[in-house]
Symmetry: D2
Subunit: 330 residues, 4 copies
Amino acid sequence: MLKVGLLGAGRIGQVHAVNIANNPRSTLVAVSDVFEEAATKLAAAHGADVRSSEDILADPSIDAVLIATSTDTHSNLIEAAAAAGKAVLCEKPVDLSLERARACQAQVKASGRPVMIGFNRRFDPNFKALKDASTRGEIGKSELLSVTSFDPAPPPVSYIKVSGGLFRDMMIHDFDMANFLMGERPVSLRAVGSSVVDPEIGAAGDVDTAVVVMTYADGRIAVIKNSRRAVYGYDQRVELLGAEGLLQANNMLENTMVKSTAAGVSSAKPTYFFLERYMPAYAAEWEAFVSAVLDGTDLPVTLDDGIDALAMAEAATHSARTGKTVDLTL
Amino acid sequence: MLKVGLLGAGRIGQVHAVNIANNPRSTLVAVSDVFEEAATKLAAAHGADVRSSEDILADPSIDAVLIATSTDTHSNLIEAAAAAGKAVLCEKPVDLSLERARACQAQVKASGRPVMIGFNRRFDPNFKALKDASTRGEIGKSELLSVTSFDPAPPPVSYIKVSGGLFRDMMIHDFDMANFLMGERPVSLRAVGSSVVDPEIGAAGDVDTAVVVMTYADGRIAVIKNSRRAVYGYDQRVELLGAEGLLQANNMLENTMVKSTAAGVSSAKPTYFFLERYMPAYAAEWEAFVSAVLDGTDLPVTLDDGIDALAMAEAATHSARTGKTVDLTL
Amino acid sequence: MLKVGLLGAGRIGQVHAVNIANNPRSTLVAVSDVFEEAATKLAAAHGADVRSSEDILADPSIDAVLIATSTDTHSNLIEAAAAAGKAVLCEKPVDLSLERARACQAQVKASGRPVMIGFNRRFDPNFKALKDASTRGEIGKSELLSVTSFDPAPPPVSYIKVSGGLFRDMMIHDFDMANFLMGERPVSLRAVGSSVVDPEIGAAGDVDTAVVVMTYADGRIAVIKNSRRAVYGYDQRVELLGAEGLLQANNMLENTMVKSTAAGVSSAKPTYFFLERYMPAYAAEWEAFVSAVLDGTDLPVTLDDGIDALAMAEAATHSARTGKTVDLTL
Amino acid sequence: MLKVGLLGAGRIGQVHAVNIANNPRSTLVAVSDVFEEAATKLAAAHGADVRSSEDILADPSIDAVLIATSTDTHSNLIEAAAAAGKAVLCEKPVDLSLERARACQAQVKASGRPVMIGFNRRFDPNFKALKDASTRGEIGKSELLSVTSFDPAPPPVSYIKVSGGLFRDMMIHDFDMANFLMGERPVSLRAVGSSVVDPEIGAAGDVDTAVVVMTYADGRIAVIKNSRRAVYGYDQRVELLGAEGLLQANNMLENTMVKSTAAGVSSAKPTYFFLERYMPAYAAEWEAFVSAVLDGTDLPVTLDDGIDALAMAEAATHSARTGKTVDLTL
């Protein structure tokens, strides 16, 4: 039984708390949050204690911590937790600074502790089915990947300003998805972005619509499309063209009802929010972490994966600003 | 080259004229119609002559006739054409009277001439793909057939009154579809009908919504659903459940566009009219007739098939009135 | 907070236990089962006590019981629980004997206690969306209902023999679905059944494939199709044709991946098992029960609904044996 | 009645011949081809004369010519035909040399004759429905366009060598589609290409897989993906994200049959070949040309459109070679 401390009792921390509690091989023993009320409420719901992060990390009876705090605290907490001997699952991104993240990576490596980054989409049953089919060779050698990832609505501009920008905050998931599905890192990257959705986002120095094209050493190509606004819901799709076919992972719909009238045929929208779409993915992610830690097997997503995606986000930010292609092999 | 006389220049005659003209192995030489203007116009469009039905049947240079006249003339024209040595393709139904149709059947058999009934839906690429998959054993032994057949809008009550009723006029196509897909005739039949769409249809002694359930000697079951009104278009679907799977043939849509907005996801309706849905089927039907006649192979649909469907329509009409199950083995 | 005793710790009892525990307004306090080991294990997982049914019913601190025992005990337990002042949610069917069920109905009515029958499909989000759209008048007046309900594989013949037969055991859900969607009871019913899937089922006196057609006082028609075997998964669909359109509720699929190769286009199957398909429905059903009991509102499904469906199952069993139409108004 | 001379009796010339003959307002009077046998056969099938191109252009009784000859003859024939006073419909591309095409453009402008370029996909009912919905404002302001265009199989390398390369030969259609759907020309373009499908294509100096990203003056973005090989058929799809929704135009399928077995759910592939997919588009294109010429209305696609797409193909060829972004405003 994995004894777990949860750092961060916000929206995503609450999701993790349920998965920690429901998993038969893990138990939630302590919760910390800078807002004590949030920690208190969440701890009560799961019979856990409210404690400070420091206390949790210092407690030798706690095996693992889940870091769901604000991004600016991730690197420090990862380092402290690894130093304290904990197994760690940390929400993405590792850091907004690639340099800081690499320092963290070095320290973690020295500690030898398992640190997993929460790229939950790898555990989505639809994307996983696509990955598995690709791995089984069902479409032969892959050639052209296309990732579509649109949020239902843009966050407040106040959030945009501290987010690190679309490439680090939003497309980082898609960079990891590309690494997951292509099985290696790209060698070049070029990015285009604009604030066609909301000029306020542009005024804040960020983009809301972006396309990145990446190439691979063996000639393969990947395209990622992002938009901060798809009014019909959370649009999360992947297509992989291979020598022997095409794999597509499509959206989950709210229900299966279809209505046909003189006005046309209508059906349900994609699930609106990332929590609806990825709830099963979060549970599967936690299960994968617990299994890897308790059974001593390889982590399915590593801190290195988090660094790779962050490096791509940094390159894309640069490319979108300069219009230049970035060589990722340097 | 098959020289063809077309009897009847109405809506369906016009469809056939194009197919006769476009087929590289047939040519339209003469057209007749009780409305001479219709015949004149259609003949002119295809470089054919306007002649009387009698003239066409008496002309030894004409190999085949296509009968697309009103239903009450079908039996007489089939008999006369077969007696005159023509190959015949006649629109359904053979007759509104099963007794009269059986007399016609006897006379045709004596003539030895090929007479095909125009059950065009057997040639629809979707239903044909289903039949072929079933024949290839892709779902094992068939067990339960379901035919959905809805018209977009009811015909005028004046037509209803002379139509022979829904079972003979509309469901006769579906009875033939059941015979086609199940490969044998049912042993029992029960029918339910009502005029829930339009009470005027009920007042005219007919039904506009009906369900027929049939059983087969080996325990298989078939269900046919008819409605005179589906405001979203011409709804023509078939499902066949077998020991090893399910086959479904779905509607053709007007186009493949999908629109997703905050109001929902919408797509195109089924094609609205039987001519849109079945245009390729009419061409394939004619091709099959030409091939069978010129190459001396078996007709894909026979006069006997027309009689079988008519007998089932008669039984359904009786069952819907009396509430009784009809034994079709007698 | 509703304090709940669970009678029956088998497969379906386990599903209910999770929902009782997860619902913020209910708590599982006791579990009983004739197999004490099953009760012990389930109770332990939820921090509940193992007690006898008698003890649970006699405990005034328990507000409600959920009856998930074998069918032959339902009537007795419903009566005893109502007499003990409990609110009751009982799995379908009320009883295999319509007469016994009606006696139970009378006694419950006298008690004044709320008794709900577990027709979980009413709470399926897809069927519920269809019902809601129909209620909002989105397709005008309904005319023709079609329910398709196929199990993935037949149960053992030993189960068939004690099941009460397909109409009472399996189609009873679809009878309730028809009552739910049509908003009233039918006036006539005719049934056809055969053992085309497995002759052993026929030898045991039951059918494995069946179709029922029902008519309503205002001319509407409903068709239900059942098969004990659909090798591709649990096939649960509904279609409702109305004056202004068609509503369809389709299957849930295992995932959204689509593969296109030279061999064709393939996608995921329907979820294979009723627990996968209806898990959200069971949770919603329990939530509806808790709300009704705690807030004093009307039960969404009543014991009367259970009796109605049972009466239709009995009529169908009779009709399938005799070939006669059953008048349900008598 | 438009009297038409057809220059070129190859595969695409034959398609046009049927549309010219079937259109009630046009008639095919003469056919030319460097292979006289091809011209003879096609002319015979439509009751037209075989003549040289010079003869056809010199004949004042011929109103219009359709140019379906090899690409290297297009510019010369367009100029000669316009000089001879003909209305012209010419297959794409105008020329492989942008410079030569611009000279042709200048000469045509001086002649004042209508010259239309055969971007048939604008007339595809699916893409047209998308364009119409966009024009009606159904998704608000457009923001992000995505065009997927995969051929079923690469052409022979011998063809590749004279084709002008993927961007001029294949993606030129998609450049026109972007111009059609976005309603204006892009301001920047960057291209990536590789020969991941077949190294022989790379050895011949071309690419077989390519992605182009374009930006527009108002911040909008368009992505085009091309592959010379999609073994499942001709994959032609468009997606347009707007402020108020998403429009998608999907593939046409061979039929509507769906098969569900224990192995999965399978359906028909996209139509395999461009002639199957775009047959209705070619007929609609011709109808649009005939209407514009006879009724004196604007051509739906102009020679300028052909030049625009060619300029984009040239820019993409350059960008893919250099890795640089091309400024299209210069």
